[in-house]
Amino acid sequence: MSAVVERSEAGPADPTVRRAGFGSLLRSELHRFRSRRFIQVVLAVAVIGWIVATIIALTQFGNPSDAEIARAEQQISTDVASMHQAWEDCQAHPEQGPPGVAPEDFCGPEPTRDTQRLEWYLDKAPFDFGATGNDGALAFAALSAVVAALVGATWIGAEWSTRSLVALLFWVPRRMQVMAAKLLVLVGAAALIGVVAQAGWLAMSGILRAVEGSDNQLPHGFWSDLLQTQGRGVLLTVIAALLAFGLTNLVRNTGAALGIAFVYLIIVESAVRAMRPHWSPWLLSDNAVGLVKHGGNTIYFYDGIPDSTGFVPQVEYYLGHLQAGVYLGAVTVVVVALGAVLFARRDIH
């Protein structure tokens, strides 16, 4: 370090720094986000995953010949006839059903040709964008939410584990400002991840339509419904990123936060569905589906005390977009705010 004593011109002069604004901090955080290797790897893996998924999807669809379609239609007719016979038998013997339940409820709707889809009877059906557009948007929203959650968790978790967050406080002592800058960058990045993911779905479906697509017309209002679903998918992605950020900020460790999330999603939610099914409307995953899925999420569960025949009535609960969005938003705000307040008030070592 001989330069230390040789270069007196580089020593302190007038203070270079006065008081940097929030914009400087935001730019610095954006630069930091872009430079994070793990985040780059996660996003690269997501892109590779999209390419692989597109290739696999291309192998799952095909343009069947007229003979294959005729064979499938023949099989549908046979199956519908068989199902119709069973349905008629059910209607004729209502005593076989649970007491107090009408045969039409017990036996279900009358089987017709329309209840059977052609692609179920084909080895490789053509890709039907009109039928799968909304489901695909939901699936891509789920995937982008997972990616954004990983990014959100590591974004703050690595700052805690390396304690570089503490070093930043030597420069920007207003802790809430530091937290706000990190949150703003994350919200922007998560929204971008969500938009790119939905664009990825449109690109994938465009490729599938061009190569192995059906000639079916898109249903009326299809694009409006799809864009709304995609918009809610982007919202879910942002919420997932913020929830992961907030949880990691509370426990101050990425691994611990992801562990908690895993235990919640796999164990706690399964246990609740099995032991307290009437709590299902409060589960995060059900609300996530309710937020994004076209038409909302209808949850069915068996609840209550079995009657003398052991029959437990089925309960149907509808989770609409608004209810699910408000619930998820409220949980996110509480988790993020709690972490931010503790960060602002606690001693930092």
Binding site: M1, S2, A3, V4, V5, R7, S8, A10, G11, P12, A13, D14, P15, T16, V17, R18, R19, A20, G21, S24, L25, R27, S28, E29, H31, R32, S35, R36, R37, F38, A158, T162, R163, S164, V166, A167, L168, L169, F170, W171, V172, P173, R174, D347, I348, H349
Partner: protein, 313 residues
């Protein structure tokens, strides 16, 4: 204007299942602007906690005490003066996956420091050649140098360095001390140097404050603190040390042999030794007050204020 002023500041850590621990106990500390101020104390004396309190990382106990940094109250006024404060507290805190240069650039961006200053500081600590290596690949000494570069990035009016020599090789230690001395003498920078290396404090600092059990037990110019902790011992060289020892002992002095000479302990007035020996026909070849070093002074002072057994620094 004092660079640092703490008046009756306390900090208590609550510990689960154990009694609370007072890391700082009614601490008064004054660091005047300019020069290098040493901050010395045994482990657990509260040095690092004091620095954390100064930087707003740790809050002092409520209800009493005043903390001022560059004449601004802490923590309320901290954002107004933080641009003039550079700090290296314990180990340098950087992102391991980023290069040394990127780590500094991110800090510079956050605080609005020009990019050119990053290059200046890298050069200042002789890291320009390794600036594009990742921080996790740096040796301990290189990490420490990057930490010093970060502390200097703001061209601070107050530079707080906590054990800056950690991990440095002898040449690096010498260079850091030269740098600290130069910064302290430039008339614009105040350096607060916390160190457990007594020699470092003695070589580099103009003033020193000594902490024990969270209290400041001595403070002032290094020379004065040395004198206050001095033993008052006097080295006496005579032709016949055995006879001289007997005479001095009879006169009430505490005497011990020292390499063919005599060490007379706790002598308020050395001229008394001259008189007693001369009356007995023994004449001095040498009489010298033993100058205490900082280590002796430090031990003498902190023995009067024994450190607590806790490990809170």
């Amino acid at each position: 204007m004092p660079a640092v002023q703490l008046t009756a500041v306390s900090k208590t850590y609550r510990r689960r299942g154990r009694p609370p621990q007072k890391a700082i106990d009614n601490l008064d500390l004054l660091v005047e602007s300019g020069g290098v101020h040493g901050f010395l104390g045994p482990n657990g004396s509260g040095k690092t906690t004091t620095i954390r309190v100064l930087l707003g990382l740790v809050s002092a106990d409520a209800g009493g005490g005043e903390i001022r940094l560059l004449d601004q109250p802490v923590p309320q006024g901290l954002p107004d003066v933080i641009g003039g404060v550079g700090a290296l507290v314990e180990t340098p805190l950087f992102f391991p996956g980023f290069t040394g240069r990127l780590n500094l650039q991110l800090l510079a961006e956050a605080a609005g420091v020009p990019k050119s200053r990053v290059e200046e500081c890298l050069e200042l600590v002789d890291l320009s050649d390794r600036a594009d290596d990742r921080f996790k690949g740096y040796s301990l000494g290189m990490k420490q140098r990057l930490g010093i570069a970060a502390a200097l990035l703001k061209s601070p009016r107050l530079l707080i360095l906590d054990e800056p020599s950690n991990g440095l090789d002898p040449a690096g230690i010498r260079d850091v001390r030269e740098l600290i001395r130069r910064l302290g003498s430039d008339g614009q920078t105040t350096v607060l140097l916390s160190s457990h290396l007594l020699a470092e404090i003695q070589q580099v600092c103009d003033h020193v404050s000594i902490l024990a059990r969270g209290r400041c037990v001595a403070s002032g110019p290094v020379g004065e603190v040395l004198a206050s902790g001095g033993s008052g011992d006097v080295l006496v060289q005579v032709a016949d040390p055995t006879a001289a020892a007997g005479i001095l002992h009879q006169a009430g002095f505490a005497v011990s042999p020292a390499d063919g000479a005599l060490l007379v302990h706790s002598v308020p007035s050395p001229s008394e030794i001259t008189r007693v020996l001369a009356q007995s026909g023994l004449y001095l070849e040498e009489l010298r007050r033993v100058t205490p070093d900082l280590e002796s002074a430090f031990l003498a002072i902190t023995e009067d204020h024994p450190a607590g057994s806790g490990d809170q620094a």
